[in-house]
Amino acid sequence: MQTGYVLLATIALPLFVAVLLLVVPSKRADLVRYISIATGFALFGLSTYAFFAYQLATADTYQFELQWTWIENVGFLGDKGITLHLGIDGIGAPMVLLTGIVTFAATLISAKIDYRNKDYFILLFLLVAGVFGVFTSLDLFFWFFFYELAVLPMYLLIGVWGSSSTFATFARTKEYSAVKLTMVLVGASVLIFVGIFAVFVEAGIGTFDLPQLYEVQYDENFQKVVFPLFLIGCGVLAGLWPFHTWSPDGHVAAPTAVSMLHAGVLMKLGAFGIIRLGMQLLPEGAEFWMPMLMTLGVINVVYGAISAMAQTDFKYMVGYSSMSHMGYVLMGLATLNAVGVNGAVLQMFSHGVMTALMFAMIGVLYDQAHTREIAAFGGLVKRMPHFVAFFSIAGLASLGLPGLSGFVAEFNIFLGTFQTYPALGALGILGAAITAVYILRMMSQAFFGEENEKWAGLKDMSRYEYAGAALLLAFIVLMGVFPSPFVDRIAETVLKIPGVS
């Protein structure tokens, strides 16, 4: 049974729980914890249901549709001017599933938060509601509303629950990182805002409803002018070079679960926006600008990987690694062929679960050791075998080991890239090789080799951490060995995007 109420629930439930938590006494920290984990589980259930109940080979472009009119026939708005229009296609479905998985894992990992955990979970659920909203909205107004809702709680989550760090040659306060992250993302969203109104006026049909706006044939010059607004505006959230520095610094300052959501789902909103707003609305603009996106994507991949190699801090390393992996997504989108775009969406999912697992594991280590310097550790496998196993598998997925999710995604992306830009595809593969260098170096330095006696007191993962990590790991392996449920949904929709060959 398909009903739009499922998608509505993914947005309404976290909002409702955010309000519910307001009336829970903050002294009852355990109650807050249980409510939050139960909500995370419910969101995971809802999104899993939405993913698996999504029908293949139907005539409907969007499923689980629901449309409630909010404002219509006022001023410049016509029939169904602004509506709460929800629905998912084959790209939205895996993204909703990803959000459910990462959210549930993040609530489990956040069980160890003691300081003002009620306020923390309220902000976390506001953020999650925004993310679900972006992935399911088919109305430009609500799309943008949820986009902002997903970004703003990050400011407080990092500023209050984050940590400041001092390194040998520089220091980063959590306030600096929180302000930079918010300013860069809000600044970029101004471009999207301008683009949305440009499209609204140019279409001249008085509605913000996306499926209706997709039907309009826009002037070619208009498309070429407006597409970069969406490309840069959304691209910044996807970590597009040279507007990426908010991301690694944000990770270093953010608490564990916020890093998981930041790299796991938030950066995917940007890539999703490039598809939803850029490629689907303005296909001719996309065709004109894609060589530039391909170039920037390759820069992201290689530059991010090289930067990651020089990092001495776990979180900086994984932060730059995320930038590098989002570069593969941008490359895949820029191919504008079905294999490449399919690979890009697969990579969005794959990177989401894998990087969330890496950040979760960094949290396990940091909360005990209070340092994230890779060289400070050694031989961790003796004290924390399960931790090392989970972290290593995430790392191997990151470098594209067959049998894990990263391989499936990157294989498709390279296949697509070699059909359109063979030389840049070769550079992309170089990036994958560099990824192997920094992941394996990190593992050999911190996990294996001589045991550092200083860390003899470290304990392995707690039950909550174990549960969250196992959930993420299950989907890394599932996608690695059985990608069909994902490919079937994505490929069908990708072929319907105008301009994708």
């Binding site: 079905a338 296949l415 260098v437 990608p483 490929a491």
Partner: protein, 178 residues
């Protein structure tokens, strides 16, 4: 994966192996590959299996010669290796260090790759972030600092600024309409 490729219209040549190796093909089918092993292995130009007698006998003879030389050097005349080692000292050093290939790799990683990576990371932190991103923020702050001196409290100046602004907007509006 390959079934997916076909869905995108990428044609792969799979008939050859099915024709050449029908038994393997059935094995593949039994293992659960629906298209048989031909779905997994592709040969563009298959050759019939060719047994080259000269190559086979030659390589067996080489193996035998190696075994014989080893037996002679270590069992029949065990003092021989020490003598050869003494005479060919530089060669022995080279060989026992595996031609220094490991040291070469290590040096390239340490001196070239990691040093280059540190340059990129420095560039990212100091140029892209501290100059580019933070610089944009400081420029905004500095512009605000300069503009605050326009906040004089002298009403005629405010009025003048408003008039100039209105005229400028009107000029823009009319020129766009024309």
């Amino acid at each position: 994966m390959l079934a997916n490729l076909r869905r995108y219209g990428i044609e792969l040549d799979e008939t050859d192996i099915k024709r050449e190796c029908p038994v393997f093909d059935q094995v593949g089918r039994a293992m659960g590959f629906p298209g048989g092993i031909g779905d997994v292995i592709f040969l563009q130009h298959p050759h019939a299996f060719d047994f080259n007698v000269a190559v086979t006998l030659g390589s067996i003879a080489l193996v035998a010669a190696g075994l014989g030389a080893g037996w002679y050097a270590w069992v029949v005349r065990p003092q021989l290796p020490t003598r050869i080692m003494a005479r060919l000292q530089p060669v022995h050093t080279l060989v026992s260090n595996e031609y220094y290939l490991d040291d070469l790799y290590q040096a390239i990683i340490d001196r070239v790759i990691l040093a280059g990576a540190r340059v990129v990371a420095w560039f990212d932190r100091n140029v892209v972030n501290d100059t580019g991103i933070d610089g944009a923020a400081y420029t905004t702050g500095f512009a605000a600092y300069l503009m605050k001196f326009q906040q004089t409290g002298k009403l005629p100046n405010y009025a003048l600024a408003m008039v100039i602004g209105i005229v400028a907007l009107a000029v823009v509006a009319f020129s766009l309409k024309a």
